[in-house]
C-alpha cells in the first residue's frame, strides 16, 4: 500500500495537480477580454504590471493592506493557516527528503521545532476559521457544506501528519493516511474552490491591472487595491 501511495498515486496526484493548474491558469488569462472586462490590458503593459504586482504583493503581507488591518482577527487566523499550509508541504524535512528522492529537487528545510509550531498553528487557525463560520452571522449565511468539505480536505493532511508525527496508535497507518490525504488534496486543487491557491494570483493580478490601468493607477494613485 505504502509503495503504491508513494509511487503511482503520487505521480498521478502531482500530475493532475500541476497540469490542472497550468491549464486553468492559461484558460483564465485566455478568458480575459478587454472589451467585456473593460480594461485595456495590452495597451499599458507597464501600468498593468505595476498594478498587478502591487495588488498581489501587498495582499500577501500580513496587515499589508487596509483591508487586512481593519480585521485583525481573521487576518491572524488567515495567515496562521496559510503560512503553514504553504510552507509545511514544501519545506518539512520529511517532505524535503521525499521530494529529493522522487523529483531530485529539494528546497531548504525547516527546523523541526519550528515545523511543529507551524503545523499546530495551521490546525489551531483552522479551528478558529471553522468557529468563525459557525458563530458570525455574516459568514454563516454564506457557509455551505462544501465550504466545510474544503476545509476538511485541506486540514486532513495536517491532522494525519501530526498523528503520525506523535505516533498515536499505528504509525504506518497514519503515515499512509497522511500521504493519501495529501494526494487527495493535490487532486482537488484544480477542480474545487482550492483552485484559489493559484487563481488567487490570477484574480489579484486582474484587479491590479484593472485599477492600475483604468481606475486610478495612471493618475498616480498608489493604493493597494
Amino acid at each position: 500500500m505504502h509503495d503504491l501511495l508513494t509511487g503511482l498515486f503520487f505521480w498521478i496526484a502531482l500530475g493532475v495537480c500541476l497540469i490542472g493548474m497550468i491549464v486553468r491558469f492559461i484558460m483564465y488569462f485566455k478568458g480575459l477580454s478587454w472589451r467585456l472586462d473593460r480594461v485595456a490590458y495590452t495597451s499599458y503593459p507597464a501600468a498593468g504590471f505595476k498594478g498587478a504586482v502591487r495588488s498581489i504583493y501587498k495582499w500577501l503581507i500580513p496587515f499589508g493592506t487596509y483591508g487586512w488591518r481593519t480585521q485583525p482577527f481573521i487576518t491572524v487566523a488567515f495567515f496562521g493557516f496559510h503560512i503553514g499550509a504553504v510552507m509545511i508541504p514544501l519545506f518539512l524535512l520529511g517532505h524535503s527528503l521525499f521530494l529529493k528522492e522522487k523529483l531530485g529537487i529539494s528546497f531548504f528545510t525547516l527546523n523541526a521545532t519550528f515545523a511543529d509550531i507551524l503545523t499546530w498553528t495551521v490546525v489551531v487557525s483552522a479551528f478558529f476559521l471553522v468557529l468563525r463560520r459557525m458563530v458570525l452571522p455574516e459568514v454563516r449565511i454564506m457557509t455551505t457544506l462544501y465550504d466545510y468539505f474544503i476545509l476538511l480536505i485541506s486540514i486532513a493532511p495536517f491532522i494525519t501528519g501530526l498523528l503520525a508525527r506523535y505516533q498515536v496508535g499505528d504509525y504506518s497507518f497514519w503515515l499512509n493516511m497522511h500521504i493519501f490525504c495529501g494526494e487527495l488534496l493535490l487532486i482537488a486543487i484544480p477542480f474545487t474552490k482550492l483552485s484559489h491557491v493559484f487563481l488567487f494570483f490570477a484574480s489579484r493580478a486582474q484587479l491590479g491591472m484593472d485599477f492600475g490601468i483604468k481606475r486610478g493607477g495612471m493618475k498616480g494613485t498608489k493604493m493597494a487595491w
Binding site: S33, R133, S203, R204, Q206, D210, G216, W225
Partner: protein, 462 residues
Amino acid sequence: MPEGKFCNKKPIDTAEGINELLSDTSGNNYYKEMEKLEIDSDLLWKTIQNTCKSRIRTWLEICAHCGMCAESCFLYQVNGRDPKQVPAYKIQSTLGEIIRKKGKVDNKFMRDTMEVAWAKCTCCNRCGTYCPHGIDTGIMFGYLRGLLYQQGFVPWELKIGAGMHRVYRAQMDVTDEDFVDTFEWMVEEYEDDYPGLTVPVDVEGADIMYTVNAREVKHYPEDLAEAAILFHIAGENWTVPSKGWEQTSLAMFAGDWAACKMQVETVYEAMERLKPVRMVGTECGHAHRATVIEGPYWAGRKNGQPPAESIHYVEWLAEALNTGKLKIDPHKRIKEPVTLQDSCNYIRNHGLKKATRDIMKHIVEPGYFIEMSPNKEHNYCCGGGGGFNGIGLFRKQRNIALITKRDQILATGAKLVLAPCHNCWDAIRDLEEEYEIGIRWSFLKPIVIKMLEIPEHLQPEE
C-alpha cells in the same frame, strides 16, 4: 401576460414611448405588470455564455465565503448588520444563482434580484478593495443589471432614463437647441458683471471642450453660467459642442449597454468634429465614469481612452488654481469648519483624490478643512449612488442608506459640505431634508467664484 404595455423587454426608442411610460404615475401599472413578466431563460443563458467569461466566473467560484467584505459595505453596516446585506451573499444569491440554474429562474426571483441589484448595491466598488481574492462585487452588480435590463426587470425611472438617452442623447428631454439656448441665455444674464463673457459654441481646435449634465440645463442653469465665468476669468480658450454635450449616462445605471454606447459616441463624435486639446466635464461623478472611464470600452476603443484627453472638473480647477490661472483672494477663503465628499466614481475609481485636496488647500483657510473618516479611496458612498437616488420604489431603503453619510458628516462637526458630484450633492440635500442636521452643501463652482481675484481688465467698468 408575457409582455406588458408598460413593462416589457423592449427598450424605449421614441419620445411617444417615453411619454407613455411617464403617464403611468410612479410606475404603478409598470410594477404590476412586472409581476407577470415572463423570463426568456434561453436568451438569458445564451447571453451569460457569451459575456460571462473567466473574470466573473472565477470570482464567483473562488469566493471563500469568508465574509471579509461585510464590514466594507455601508449598506450592511447601516441595515443592522443584516447578513443578507453582505456583498458576497448578495451576489452569490442573485447572479450566482442565475448561473447555477443556467438562467432557469422565475419571476419572483427576478423581482427580488432587481431589488438587490438596485437597492442593496450602489456599485461603489468599496468591497472590491477589501477582498483578499480581489473580487469586485460592484462590477458584478453592474453586469447583473445588464441581464436584468435585458429581461425587463429594471426600475421604472431607469427604464425611462435609458430611453431618454436613446431618444434625446441626454438623461432628460433636453434637446441640442435647448442646451445652446439655455447656455447663451445664462451667459447673457451675467454679461454685465463679467464683460466679454461668452459661450463659444462649436469652435474647432479649442483647448477645452466642456460637457455637462443635462440637469444643469433643465434645473440648475446657473451652473452653466458659473462654468463660463470660471473659464472666462482663467483665460481659457474653450468651447461647447452643440451636439454631444451631455456627459451623463442613466443608461449605465439601468444596465442598457446599447444606450450607453449611443450616448457616449455622440460625445466622442463631438471631440472628433471639434478636435479640442482636452475635454473637461462638469462636477459629476457618474458622468465622468460613463464618458471617461467606461465609455471608451462601450465605444469599442481598445486603448480605453476617449478620442481627446478627458479630465474631471476638479482636475481642471486644481490645475487652474495651482498654476495661478485662477487666483483666490485669501481674505475670502472659507473660514468655517468644512468637509469634502469623495465621489466613488472618480476618487475610488479614478484616483483623483489629490486634485480635490489641492482645491481645498486653495479655498479653505488652513485648519478649517476636516476630512471625513474614512476618506479618499476608502470613503463611503453618499448613499444615493448607482441610480439609488432616483428610484421611487426604493426610496425607503435609500433614506436608510443616507445614514452613513449623515453620521460621517456629523462626526466632522462641519456645517458646510462640498460635494463636487451631482449624485452626492442630491444625496446630501436629501439627507438634510430627511434628518435635518443643519448643514449646507455646495458644488465647487459657486464657492470658488465668490472668492476669486478678478484681473482688472476683466472687471466691469464703474
